[in-house]
C-alpha cells in the first residue's frame, strides 16, 4: 500500500479538484451581473487553479499507475486487507476527530478553560505513554489556567465563559 501513495494522492486530488470545478465554483462563486471596467470575473482564477489541479491529479494518477500495478503484482494488498491491518491506527484517528469536533462544539457551552483542560487531558491519554503520569496530570490542570491568565492579563482577550456556567458565574458575582 505504501508504494501506492502517489496513486492515492492523485486520486484524492482529482476527485477534490473535480468537485471544486463542477460543484463548488458554480454554486459558491457568484458572478455579479455588472463588473467594473474590463476586470476578469471572480470565478476566473478559481477555475484556472481547479483545472490545473485536476490536470496534475490526473497526471499523478498516470505516472503512479505502472508503479502501483507493479506493487499490486508483487503483493496482494486490497483496500479491505489494508483497512483491516491498520484498524488500530484508523480507530485512533477517528477518535481524535471526534475529540476535535467535541472540543469545537463544546467550547461555547462549557467555556474555554474547562474545554482546553479536557482537551489536554484527553490528548495526554491518547499518547498512550503513562511513564510521566504526574507530569501529565499537573500540566493538564495548570498549563491551560496559566495560559488563560497570561492572555487575559497581558492581551485582555475575552475568552468565552460558556453558556453552561455564565449564568451561575454572573449570579455568584451579583451575590458577592
Amino acid at each position: 500500500m505504501n508504494q501506492n501513495r502517489d496513486f492515492y494522492a492523485g486520486l484524492v486530488a482529482t476527485a477534490f479538484f473535480a468537485i471544486v470545478l463542477f460543484i463548488l465554483i458554480p454554486v459558491y462563486v457568484k458572478v455579479p451581473s455588472f463588473i467594473p471596467g474590463f476586470a476578469p470575473p471572480p470565478d476566473m482564477w478559481p477555475r484556472v487553479i481547479a483545472v490545473l489541479g485536476l490536470v496534475m491529479g490526473v497526471l499523478a494518477l498516470i505516472l503512479a499507475f505502472p508503479k502501483s500495478r507493479k506493487a499490486s503484482g508483487e503483493k496482494v494488498t486490497t483496500l479491505g486487507f489494508y483497512l483491516n491491518r491498520n484498524k488500530v491506527f484508523m480507530t485512533r484517528f477517528a477518535i481524535l476527530l471526534v475529540v476535535f469536533a467535541a472540543f469545537v462544539y463544546g467550547l461555547p457551552v462549557i467555556g474555554f478553560v474547562p474545554a482546553t483542560v479536557l482537551l489536554l487531558g484527553v490528548l495526554f491519554l491518547m499518547t498512550g505513554n503513562f511513564d510521566r503520569r504526574f507530569w501529565m496530570l499537573g500540566l493538564t490542570l495548570i498549563f491551560p489556567v496559566l495560559l488563560y491568565l497570561l492572555f487575559t492579563e497581558v492581551n485582555h482577550t475575552p475568552f468565552p465563559e460558556g453558556t453552561l456556567f455564565s449564568s451561575s458565574l454572573s449570579n455568584l458575582t451579583t451575590l458577592i
Binding site: 462563486v29 487553479i49 499523478a60 481524535l96 474555554f112 482537551l119 495526554f124 491551560p144 495560559l147
Partner: protein
C-alpha cells in the same frame, strides 16, 4: 543616511526590543533543539504573539527565532544524532562522532561560533544588497509585479521534494484556499458559512498545517523514542582549532549568503554545498565524517549565513527565499508593512531598524548560546508525549486571542487534519504555504493589470522588466522539466537494468 542609521540604532536599542530578541533566540534554540520541531514551526507559533507588539519588535522576534532555531538544530544533531532542523543534517556527520568521543561541548562551541560568524556576514550582506535591489524594483507596476509573482511561484519546483506533480497539487490547494472570502471587487467566493466571508486567517492555516500534523502523527502511530543524549564532555574550543577552521567558516558564510539570496534554495542546500567544498579543499578532508571539527564549522556557518540572505529577496522584491521567510512575509503584511521596493520608500526607518536589530541578534545569539549551552542540551530530552499536546493548547489560546473567534480555532484544527492527510499522501506542505501567501498578490496584480489594459494580455509584455521576469520564469520551467525528465529517464533505465 547616517542620521537615519543613528536614529534606527536609537529606536532599536530599547529594552522591549532586546527582550524580544533574547526571547526569540532562546525560543528558537529550544524549538530547534527538539527533534521534529522546525524553525518554520517556531516562527508560525510565535505569530499570534506578535499582534500585540510594534512592527519592528515583532519582525525582530521572528528573525531571532529563525536564527535561534537554525543554531538549535545543531544541538540535537550533535548530542542525539537527530538533526533538529533539516539544515543541521550535515552537522550530524561530524558532530555526533565528536560527542561519542567525549567532545560534545567542543562541537557545540564550534557550531555556535561558526553560526554567529555566518550570521554576521549574512546581515552585512543584507545591508549592502537589499537597498540597491529595491531601488531597481521601484520601477515596476502591476504587470511587472504579476510577472515577478509568476517567477516567485516557480519556487514551488525547488521545494516540492520528491515529486514535482505533488508539489504543484499542493500549490493549487494553497492558491484555492487563498481565494476563500471577499475578492478585490467585493464578490464572495466559497463562503460556505458566514465566518468564511472574511476568508481564512493566515495564522490559523499556517500553524494548523505545520504544527499539528506532528501531534496527530504521534497520537495515531505512537512511535517509540529511542534517542539517547550524549554528555557535553570536553568543552574547550582551542585557538588553533578555531584558526584551522576559519577558512571554512568564511567560505561557508559566503556560500550561505549567495545561495540564501536565491529564492528556493535556502540553508539546507547551502550547508551541504559548504560541507562538500570544505571536505574537498581541507587538508583534513579524509577525516570528514569521523569527527572533524572543521566539518561542523563549514555546515553551521553556511546554514546561518543563509538566514540573513533569505531576507534579501523578501525585503527588496517581496519574494520569500524559503518557507520561513514566506511566513515572515505574512507577518509583515499583518503589521501593515508590504515587503518589496515600496517598503524602502515608505518605511525606510523600519527597514534600517531591522538591519541594526539583526546585527544585534547575531551578538545575542552568541551570548545566549554561551550562557545556556548546558541547559539547552536538556531540551532535546523533553519527551514529545508531554510537549506536543501542550503545543496544541498553546496554539489554541494563541489563535483565539488574535480575533476572539472560535472559527479560527476550527480552521486551526481542520488544517491540522488536512496537513496530516497531506503527510500520509506524501503531498509536501511547503508549496502550499508559498502559494497560500503569494496567491492573493498574484491574482490581484493580474486582475488590476487586465482592468488597466481593458483585457489586453499584451500589458504583461510592455516593459523590459516584465520580459526579464518572463524569461527567468520560462528558463526556470525549462530547467525543471529537464531535471524531472532526466530523473525519470534514470529511474526507468535502473528499473530496466534490475529487471534484466
Amino acid at each position: 543616511m547616517w542620521n537615519e542609521l543613528l536614529f534606527a540604532f536609537q529606536s532599536v536599542a530599547t529594552l522591549p526590543n532586546f527582550l524580544a530578541m533574547f526571547a526569540g533566540i532562546w525560543g528558537g534554540v529550544i524549538i530547534g533543539a527538539i527533534p521534529g520541531m522546525t524553525g518554520t514551526m517556531a516562527v508560525t507559533l510565535a505569530l499570534p504573539f506578535t499582534f500585540y507588539l510594534p512592527p519592528v519588535t515583532s519582525i525582530l522576534l521572528l528573525v531571532a527565532l529563525y536564527k535561534g532555531s537554525t543554531y538549535g538544530g545543531s544541538i540535537s544533531a550533535i548530542l542525539i544524532k537527530t538533526p533538529g532542523t533539516a539544515s543541521a543534517a550535515c552537522t550530524v556527520l561530524d558532530g555526533y562522532p565528536l560527542a561519542r568521543s567525549g567532545k560534545g561541548g567542543k562541537a557545540l562551541n564550534m557550531a555556535l561560533v561558526s553560526s554567529c560568524i555566518g550570521d554576521f556576514v549574512s546581515n552585512i550582506s543584507l545591508f549592502f544588497l537589499a537597498m540597491p535591489l529595491a531601488m531597481f524594483a521601484l520601477r515596476v507596476g502591476p504587470p511587472e509585479f504579476f510577472m515577478l509573482m509568476a517567477f516567485s511561484l516557480t519556487i514551488v519546483a525547488s521545494i516540492s521534494g520528491r515529486s514535482l506533480v505533488l508539489g504543484i497539487i499542493a500549490a493549487c490547494l494553497g492558491l484555492l484556499l487563498a481565494t476563500v472570502g471577499e475578492d478585490i471587487y467585493g464578490s464572495y467566493r466559497f463562503a460556505l458559512s458566514e465566518d468564511m466571508k472574511s476568508g481564512l486567517g493566515m495564522v490559523p492555516v499556517l500553524i494548523g498545517l505545520f504544527a499539528l500534523p506532528e501531534l496527530i502523527k504521534m497520537i495515531v502511530f505512537r512511535p517509540e523514542d529511542n534517542s539517547e543524549a550524549m554528555k557535553l564532555g570536553d568543552n574547550r574550543l582551542t585557538l588553533s582549532e578555531f584558526r584551522g577552521s576559519l577558512k571554512s567558516i568564511f567560505r561557508g558564510s559566503l556560500i550561505g549568503v549567495i545561495l540564501g539570496a536565491i529564492p528556493g534554495i535556502g540553508p539546507s542546500t547551502a550547508a551541504f554545498f559548504s560541507y562538500s567544498e570544505a571536505r574537498r579543499t581541507s587538508k583534513n578532508g579524509d577525516r570528514f565524517g569521523e569527527g572533524e571539527i572543521e566539518g561542523i564549522a563549514a555546515s553551521e556557518s553556511a546554514n546561518n549565513g543563509a538566514c540573513g540572505a533569505t531576507m534579501i529577496p523578501l525585503l527588496a522584491l517581496g519574494v520569500p527565499g524559503d518557507v520561513i521567510t514566506g511566513v515572515m512575509l505574512g507577518a509583515f503584511m499583518i503589521h501593515g508593512l508590504t515587503p518589496g521596493p515600496l517598503l524602502f520608500q515608505n518605511n525606510l526607518g523600519e527597514v534600517y531598524s531591522l538591519f541594526i536589530g539583526m546585527l544585534f541578534s547575531s551578538v545575542f545569539l552568541f551570548i545566549a548560546g554561551k550562557l545556556t549551552a548546558s541547559a539547552f542540551t536538556k531540551i532535546s530530552r523533553i519527551p514529545q508525549t508531554l510537549l506536543l499536546p501542550c503545543i496544541l493548547i498553546l496554539c489554541v489560546y494563541g489563535i483565539y486571542s488574535i480575533g476572539a473567534s472560535p472559527f479560527d480555532v476550527t480552521v486551526l484544527l481542520v488544517m491540522g487534519v488536512v496537513g496530516f492527510a497531506m503527510m500520509l499522501l506524501n503531498i509536501p506542505a511547503a508549496p502550499f504555504l508559498i502559494a497560500f501567501i503569494l496567491g492573493p498578490m498574484f491574482e490581484d496584480n493580474m486582475r488590476r493589470s487586465l482592468a488597466i489594459s481593458r483585457g489586453d494580455l499584451g500589458v504583461f509584455f510592455q516593459s523590459w522588466i516584465s520580459w526579464g521576469f518572463f524569461a527567468l520564469t520560462i528558463l526556470f520551467i525549462i530547467l525543471t522539466i529537464r531535471r524531472e525528465w532526466t530523473k525519470w529517464r534514470n529511474k526507468s533505465r535502473d528499473a530496466a537494468q534490475s529487471a534484466s
